[in-house]
């Protein structure tokens, strides 16, 4: 099926994509500048983090938070944003935070950033003495050697909460099931649809789809960041309208929307 139109100078089939991304960026800037406080629905998984870390403090048990096994992909980066929040809470409440790292060769590059995030959180809370390098262990560059170490930490330390976000892969079940077995509250994020099903079953709270990337803004007190989520909703409406119009058009024999999306 040929595209509806092509624009000279733009790679064929990518004009609409370019338009969408530019419009998305502009709408983010617009919403952030406007700083108007928007209604954001409650995300149970994110609201539960504070309570879960509080529970760990009351039980005098550690909290465990991991950001994934990948390199600097977007899922690792939002995992780091959530790690920053968990580290801040742990430092404020005086709870020991364990951050298992490793699992992939690329994760070695992310580890120093995670270490810095945790250290800065403890320094900001005036509890630098509580920060221990040993609490950010590096297990291995191999996925299943890492998980062996991770499960070992869970069984030895019996944490009260396990926040497993970011670029985790098939090892997620080992983590969530062991966490359940040791009585920890499990908060996870599913960035891949293939893991969403079993993470939803095995976790107490699961961040699904865009809830993970939006976590940083949701948890922030900065109104401009929270406002940026508004553009997400705007584009969801655009997608929804395109789906409905496309469906109607296709059923009356027109392929205009399909060809438009290929432009």
């Amino acid at each position: 099926m040929p595209p509806l139109f092509s624009v000279p100078g733009v790679v064929q089939g990518r004009f609409l994509g370019l338009l969408c991304v530019v419009a998305l960026f502009l709408s983010v800037i617009y919403y952030m500048r406007r700083k108007k406080s928007l209604y954001i629905r409650k995300v149970a998984g994110l609201d539960a983090i504070e309570d879960a870390v509080g529970r760990a403090t009351e039980m005098r048990k550690p909290a465990v938070c991991s950001f994934g096994i990948g390199g600097f992909g977007y899922s690792t980066v939002f995992g780091l944003a959530i790690l920053s929040y968990v580290a801040e809470l742990s430092a404020k409440m005086g709870t020991r935070l364990i951050v298992p790292t490793g699992g992939g060769t690329a994760s070695m590059v992310v580890r120093p950033v995670a270490q810095d995030i945790v250290r800065q959180a403890y320094i900001a809370a005036g509890r630098e003495d509580m920060y221990k390098d040993e609490d950010i262990p590096f297990f291995s560059g191999q996925q299943y050697a890492y998980i062996g170490g991770y499960v070992g930490v869970l069984q030895r330390t019996r944490p009260a909460v396990v926040v497993m976000v970011g670029s985790h892969a098939s090892e997620t079940l080992n983590i969530t099931e062991t966490s359940n077995a040791v009585g920890a509250i499990v908060i996870s994020s599913a960035t891949s649809v293939s893991y969403a099903a079993f993470l939803t079953c095995s976790s107490d709270y699961c961040l699904i789809g865009e809830e993970g990337p939006a976590a940083g803004a949701y948890l922030s007190q900065d109104p401009s960041q929270r406002a940026s989520i508004g553009s997400q909703d705007l584009f969801k409406w655009v997608a929804l309208i395109l789906i409905v119009v496309g469906l109607a058009a296709y059923n009356v024999g027109s392929d205009v929307i399909i060809r438009l999306l290929q432009s």
């Binding site: 100078g9 733009v10 790679v11 990518r14 004009f15 994509g17 370019l18 998305l24 960026f25 983010v28 800037i29 952030m32 977007y74 980066v77 939002f78 780091l80 944003a81 920053s84 070695m108 590059v109 120093p112 950033v113 810095d116 995030i117 800065q120 959180a121 320094i123 900001a124 040993e134 590096f138 191999q142 996925q143 299943y144 050697a145 098939s170 079940l173 080992n174 969530t176 099931e177 359940n180 960035t191 649809v193 079993f198 079953c201 095995s202 789809g209 865009e210 809830e211 993970g212 990337p213 939006a214 940083g216 803004a217 922030s220 900065d222 960041q225 940026s228 553009s231 584009f235 969801k236």
Partner: protein, 211 residues
């Protein structure tokens, strides 16, 4: 000088320029920018490889620190350091044959496979929890799950031939629609998250947490 390179402005400017240099050539045909983009990707790969060497060095030094202090678990650290050194030596002899290949085939891969196999038991225990239909929604999910599960099982298809069209309908309509919705929502979230990072609103992920 290092303070300059670590400053918020420099890091954000570098991130912004790198974004433009790789983003624009994907959509717009500008040969000069494509050359810059390719070079940037090559430079990133090289820096990444160098960073990995630094990371291994830092792990080694950290291990040494544990061994010297005889901290808890120091024997494991010593073992890890010995294996790091051995694997570096083995890797220099070639990766497709020789001791490196043997270690991977005879030790690392079988151990990883065993760990992967354990997933089946974890899945079983997850399913056991999921199979508690506490309300109507959960019951519907459970019924759909059972139909798809029976369809996937080798013998069920021949015993209950009527299950195939129902299972295919469920996977090709509901599952497909949900997968696409999920992908769209994650993509939207990722783009907006990227925009926030580039605008310096989430500095901690760029290693600027202390500022």
């Amino acid at each position: 000088m290092s303070a300059f390179f670590k400053s918020r402005e420099v890091i954000l400017t570098a991130a912004g320029l790198a974004f433009v240099a790789t983003f624009v050539p994907y959509f717009v045909t500008i040969p000069e920018l494509s050359v810059i983009s390719t070079k940037l990707v090559t430079i990133t790969a090289l820096v990444n490889a160098f960073t990995l060497a630094l990371a291994v060095h830092s792990q080694f030094m950290r291990g040494m620190y544990f061994v010297r202090r005889r901290s808890r678990g120091w024997i494991l650290k010593a073992y890890m350091m010995v294996t790091i050194v051995l694997m570096v030596i083995f890797a220099t002899m070639g990766q497709d044959k020789g001791p490196y290949n043997w270690v991977m085939l005879a030790i690392v891969n079988p151990l990883s496979s065993v760990n992967y196999g354990i997933l089946a038991f974890y899945m079983a225990s997850t399913c056991a929890r999921a199979f508690r239909a506490r309300n109507m929604k959960a019951l519907l999910f459970l019924a759909a799950g059972f139909i798809v599960l029976f369809y996937q099982a080798p013998l069920t298809g021949s015993i209950f031939p009527g299950i195939e069209p129902v299972a295919l309908y469920l996977t090709d309509t509901f599952a497909m629609a949900i997968t696409r919705t999920f992908t769209m929502s994650v993509t939207l979230g990722a783009i907006i998250f990227g925009a926030r990072v580039l605008m310096g609103k989430q500095p901690q992920v760029l290693g600027l947490g202390g500022e």
